[in-house]
């Protein structure tokens, strides 16, 4: 969604073309991200002609301020929905930055890892808005990710296993 998409595209801006093909996954209710992604990829294709990317939508795991009980149901549904997609893509690397949408995909990737089907590296970058506290996705993925990146020193203190590189977006 919105701010998350802008942030993640900035993170991608300096990556080499070895990070290809890129598979973007976002919420079905998200109206604006597709345009931002296409515009980013279009610009990228001007420099790297062999650029490849795909877009996929999944049901949003949780709306802002959705109740706990219904969130569990919608998240489980999102996990089930994401499993065939994650299996098909078998990503080497998942890069995510905070929308609830990323949690089911990461959980699926871990499941596939446990089943010996594919070992994915999960890198989570907490939003620049998070100075003192983690987002809910962050709190969950702190335990599920391989690398957890925070952008403010306060969070590095509170979450010692995190990586602090300063502001990166």
């Amino acid at each position: 969604t919105g701010g998350h998409t802008t942030e993640i595209l900035r993170l991608l801006s300096c990556l080499s073309e070895s990070y290809s093909p890129r598979h973007y996954i976002f919420a079905d209710s998200d109206k604006m991200s597709e345009a931002k992604i296409r515009s980013f990829e279009q610009k990228r294709a001007e420099t790297f002609s062999s650029s490849q990317f795909t877009l996929d939508r999944i049901p949003r795991s949780r709306e802002v301020r959705q109740s706990w009980t219904s969130s569990v149901v919608t998240t489980l549904y999102s996990i089930l929905y994401s499993l065939p997609l994650t299996y098909k893509l078998k990503p080497d690397l998942i890069l995510c930055n905070g929308p609830g949408t990323c949690v089911p995909v990461c959980i699926c990737a871990r499941l596939l890892g446990l089943l010996g089907i594919k070992r994915t590296i999960i890198v989570y970058v907490e939003s620049i808005c998070r100075v003192e506290t983690l987002s809910l996705s962050g709190k969950i993925l702190y335990y599920f990710s391989d690398y957890f990146i925070v952008q403010w020193p306060d969070l590095k203190q509170k979450y010692p296993k995190s990586v602090y590189l300063g502001r990166i977006v």
């Binding site: 919105g2 990556l15 080499s16 590296i121 998070r130 590189l165």
Partner: protein, 104 residues
């Protein structure tokens, strides 16, 4: 106007920006090097939005006020006290990621 896809044009021409504490709005103004006054509405905001505004204020990149103190802030403000906001460095992320996945 009520809503626009992008305020980039208006931001470019502005001498001063007065904004709510939304992260996107604040960062956009700061990245364009515009002096920024952040108006905080505690009733409307959920706590996490406040985090960034508070930090930016602590780092002296923005002036803060609330709706009732806005006029007073505008009258007494000294924008020269504001420090420039250095851009983020996604190159550091790229370097880190390259090491993680083994592209050196």
């Amino acid at each position: 106007f009520r809503f626009k896809d992008s305020l980039a044009e208006e931001l470019g021409r502005a001498d001063l920006v007065i904004s709510h504490a939304g992260a996107g709005s604040c960062l956009e103004a700061l990245e364009k090097g515009k002096p920024l006054i952040v108006v905080i509405n505690e009733k409307l905001m959920d706590n996490h939005q406040l985090e960034l505004a508070k930090q930016l204020h602590r780092d002296e990149h923005v002036l803060c006020c609330n709706c009732s103190t806005l006029v007073e802030t505008l009258e007494s403000m000294d924008l020269s006290t504001l420090k420039p906001f250095p851009p983020g460095q996604p190159e550091k992320f790229a370097l880190f990621l390259d090491k993680v996945v083994g592209f050196q």
